[in-house]
């Protein structure tokens, strides 16, 4: 794949897995995002922090294709995907979770993972399904992948339960499993830990780290739990009122006076 570079200053042969440049989104007159850029490389974890209303979820919407930016571009592996719908981005290796779980109420836990795998590995065909050739279309790759993810997430015991019957914490884990089931290259996690207790958070963190190390998946994690993000991420971007106010390694961010003033300070007060 040809490395399409937009900024002249980038010399590396490999473009970042996911990159957004100069993204601006306006709702009415209000700029929800103002000239924001982020990038993440394979196997790395990018944390995005900011108080409520800072534009984190909107940024995820722009990255995943649910929100079209007024200005700016999104690239997956150097390919411009700005106008493409979410499903096209998913096929290029982008997966995401939602802040409030968007599960498929009628599907079992296992079916969530199987469905994702089949769509992203080209195993779904309307015609084959119609004539009855596709209904038992299971392959070893799918079974291995799904079984392993269910085990890792501790979901094996509930795999045949309907999503609508699950408690919130389990539902969040199913969302993570669904996102990883399609062997994505980059995953956006919107507040993955909310609703989870500390044991579940640890389990989740270990699954995320394993995906990162074993498969070279790049992760973008939005959290307002500042410490969690700093502990997990390779780099951290700080958003405030739709602007990127700081960007750096966790230790740089921790000592950044602008961040302390604009974010940590106000967060502690409110």
């Amino acid at each position: 794949m040809a490395a399409v570079t937009t900024n002249g200053d980038r010399s590396a042969a490999d473009p970042p897995l996911l990159e957004a440049c100069g993204v601006t989104v306006r709702f009415g007159g209000l700029a929800a995002l103002d000239d924001v850029g982020v990038r993440v490389e394979a196997g790395r974890i990018l944390g995005i922090v900011g108080p409520n209303g800072a534009g984190k979820t909107t940024l995820f919407g722009v990255l995943s294709g649910l929100v079209q930016p007024a200005v700016g571009d999104v690239f997956i592996e150097g390919e411009r995907v700005t106008g493409l719908p979410p499903q096209e981005r998913a096929r290029r290796g982008l997966a995401r979770t939602f802040q409030r779980a968007h599960l498929f109420a009628e599907l079992t836990v296992r079916e969530h993972l199987e469905l994702t795998y089949r769509w992203l590995h080209g195993r779904q065909s309307y015609l084959r399904d119609l004539v009855g050739l596709g209904s038992r279309a299971r392959e070893d790759g799918e079974r291995d992948r799904v079984d392993r993810l269910l085990d890792n997430l501790g979901l094996a015991s509930v795999q045949h339960q309907a999503a609508s019957s699950l408690p919130l914490s389990t539902a969040r884990l199913v969302e993570v499993g669904r996102a990883l089931a399609g062997t994505p290259k980059v995953v956006l996690f919107d507040e993955p830990s909310s609703g989870l207790d500390s044991r579940e958070t640890e389990q989740l963190a270990s699954v995320l780290l394993r995906a990162c190390q074993d498969e070279g998946v790049a992760l973008v994690v939005v959290e307002h739990d500042f410490e969690l993000v700093l502990g997990l991420s390779d780099r951290v971007d700080v958003l405030d009122f739709g602007r990127l106010i700081a960007s750096g390694t966790p230790s740089e961010i921790r000592s950044d006076p602008v961040v302390q003033a604009a974010y940590i300070g106000t967060e502690r007060v409110t």
Binding site: L66, Q99, A105, T116, R123, Y126, D129, S135, S165, G182
Partner: protein
């Protein structure tokens, strides 16, 4: 020219009264009252009964019908039905009001005059007083329309702007939970809105009577035309609804200036205008939604699939299968030829109804145009056999294939629409098919249609009722297998996923557009084959048997028997054909309307049991017989409306 303008304003005024009432009830309760036209018919027939049959004076009849019965009817409907539906999924609300739409006219005809009156009077009976205004002769009924439209429009505008009720109403509309917190009782406001809305329906009905007569089909189709004004007003703007209503009325009459005197164009254009306008506006809304990123309201399925519990143990399934096959072979032995024929044509209808099980049950998309796709199959096949000498079976198959592009067109146009707009768009297509496609001279043939003989295959004729019965059963079995294949496969999972959360489905790589188009395409083919068989059983493909209004009854029947059940489609088809025949054979004529009434009431019951009769009965028996492999409490799946991305 002036005469045309007056006539256009008369229609526009009636549209305005009806559609403003519809907007009023919609904004206050978020329930789109499909039955508005049926309510109008009910009150108009009551007015006729009191005024003409019982000899009451016009004013006392009008006062009782519009001033007393209409608000009480609105209040009763709200208390019994709409109050409970206000938080139900849109699909359930739609199906319930569609049930009302089906049930109310037969109730009215059973309660009041059964036969269609000839030349019923409006507020003024013949000789209707006339006056000359600026050189145009206006009769008193026309003036009544103008006065009503102006008074209703002004009263609404002033009430909403200047009274406590209006303020409350706007508060409820803008933010229902907030209004509750602030001590406003949304229930009272909503009840009042339904009372006033029903009065306006009744007023529109009485105004329409002298113009159109009291035929329930033309009545409801005309009032369905007023939906276009509501769509122009985007379901919330009273002003734009009013403007849209007058514009539609004017457009419908002024267009006759540029049309030929007679022929297809003259017949097709005028009734089609509101539906063309409706589709254009809906497409525009769809495009706007698309540009904004398509964050439309999440679709909620009418009927949900409960994983793991939907499957009976193997011995139960074998038992049911054997019982069905035995019954299929016993029926021809037990029934006379006439009744077997009734059942056979019901099975053929059941094939077409399978397309609803697929598109609406599996796909979660309310479609009111499956009957038109069946009609394309039927009338296309008749064209091929009559004019091109095709053998029957290839003709039916090819005509069913010809229905596919129409199904795809409907799907593409309505892709981005929410459930309510989808229902309106498919209904528009159905009415347009009636008005513009099936009215072509060589198809319509003065409503007689074209002959379509019963099929024969390799020299074997399916001419007797027994043979046709088995043919229909065989085709049903194949079509049912296709639907089951879809349901059990990855496609079925995909459709279930889309029903829960379209946004999440897209983020796992599902092209929701393609899934919907594929579902509509398969459904169109099945509907086309079913329509071909229905027509070939009766020997003719006639446009009136594939009328949009009957399509609404189809949906009501399928919903009653179970929108997610293949067996339900079969039973629904047989019931659709058998009930009216049973009633006309054994029950006095005065109850001839009861079957239709039952179909409508059945659909209303889905508000209580959304899975339909079959699922409900199976559930009861399974519970009794302890056939459930495991007891679990998720028998009723609450489909959580997936959260909007913040």
């Amino acid at each position: 020219m002036n005469v045309l303008i007056v006539s256009g304003l008369v229609f526009g005024g009636i549209y305005a009264v009806a559609s403003l009432g519809l907007v009023l009830t919609y904004v206050s309760s978020r329930i789109f009252n499909f039955a508005q036209g049926a309510l109008a018919f009910f009150i108009a027939l009551l007015f006729y009964e009191l005024n003409t049959e019982r000899g009451w004076s016009t004013w006392s009849a009008a006062l009782v019908a519009i001033g007393v019965v209409a608000p009480l009817l609105g209040l009763a409907l709200w208390a019994v039905l709409f109050r409970r539906l206000s938080s139900a999924p849109t699909t359930v609300q739609l199906v319930a009001t569609i049930g009302l739409y089906v049930a109310i006219p037969p109730i009215a005809k059973t309660l009041f005059v059964a036969d269609e009156p000839s030349l019923p009077p409006g507020f003024f009976s013949a000789p209707v007083p006339e006056v000359d205004v600026f050189g145009v002769t206006l009769n008193a009924n026309q003036i009544a329309v103008f006065v009503s439209a102006v008074v209703v429009g002004l009263a609404l505008a002033l009430t909403l702007r200047f009274t406590m009720f209006g303020l409350t109403m706007r508060g409820v509309v803008d933010h229902r939970p907030l209004a509750s917190v602030m001590g406003i009782n949304p229930g009272v406001v909503t009840a009042a809105a339904w009372m006033i809305g029903t009065m306006m329906a009744g007023l529109a009905g009485v105004l329409l009577t002298p113009v159109l007569g009291l035929n329930e089909v033309s009545f409801s189709v005309l009032l369905i035309s007023s939906f276009a004004a509501v769509v122009v007003g985007r379901l919330r703007s009273f002003t734009w609804t009013f403007v849209g209503a007058l514009g539609l009325g004017l457009a419908q009459t002024l267009v006759t200036k540029v049309l030929p005197e007679s022929g297809w164009m003259a017949r097709a254009a005028r009734p089609s205008i509101p539906f063309v306008v409706m589709i254009l506006f809906l497409v525009a809304y769809g495009l706007v939604l698309h540009r904004r990123g398509g964050e439309e309201a999440p679709t909620t399925a009418l009927l949900t699939r409960t994983p793991g519990t939907g499957v009976a143990p193997w011995y139960a399934r074998v038992l049911i299968g054997v019982a069905l096959v035995v019954a299929a072979f016993l029926i021809p032995e037990l029934l006379t030829s006439f009744w077997l024929g009734v059942v056979a044509s019901g099975v053929a209808v059941g094939i077409a109804l399978l397309s609803l099980v697929l598109v609406t049950g599996e796909g979660g998309m309310i479609s009111l145009c499956q009957i038109s796709l069946a009609g394309i199959g039927a009338m296309g096949a008749a064209q091929l056999t009559e004019f091109y000498g095709w053998p029957n079976i290839p003709a039916i198959l090819v005509a069913a294939l010809a229905a596919v592009p129409f199904g795809v067109l409907v799907a593409v146009v309505s892709l981005r629409l929410g459930e309510l707009y989808l229902a309106l768009a498919t209904l528009s297509f159905a009415v347009l098919a009636d008005n513009a496609l099936f009215s072509i001279d060589r198809i319509d043939n003065l409503h007689a249609g074209q002959p379509l003989p019963r099929p024969s295959l390799f020299g074997f004729d399916f001419d007797s009722d027994v043979r046709f019965y088995f043919l229909a059963l065989g085709v049903f079995a194949v079509a049912a297998l296709l639907v089951l294949n879809v349901r059990r496969s990855t496609t079925g999972l995909t459709l279930a996923a889309i029903r829960s959360s379209e946004v999440a489905a897209r983020t796992i790589g599902v092209s929701t557009e393609r899934a919907k188009v594929a579902t509509f395409a398969i459904g169109a083919f099945i509907a086309g084959v079913g329509g071909g068989l229905v027509a070939s059983f009766s020997g003719r493909a006639t446009p009136p048997s594939f009328n949009a209004v009957i399509g609404i009854v189809w949906l009501a029947v399928v919903v009653t028997w179970g929108l997610r059940s293949v067996v339900g489609a079969l039973l629904a088809g047989v019931a659709f054909s058998l009930f009216p025949a049973l009633f006309s054979a054994y029950i006095p004529d005065s109850y001839a309307e009861v079957p239709t009434m039952l179909f409508g009431l059945g659909a209303i019951i889905v508000a209580r049991e959304p899975r339909g009769i079959v699922a409900q009965t199976v559930g009861h028996w399974r519970h009794l017989l302890r056939l459930d492999r495991r007891r679990d409490d998720n028998d009723t799946v609450a489909v959580e409306p997936s959260a909007q991305a913040a």
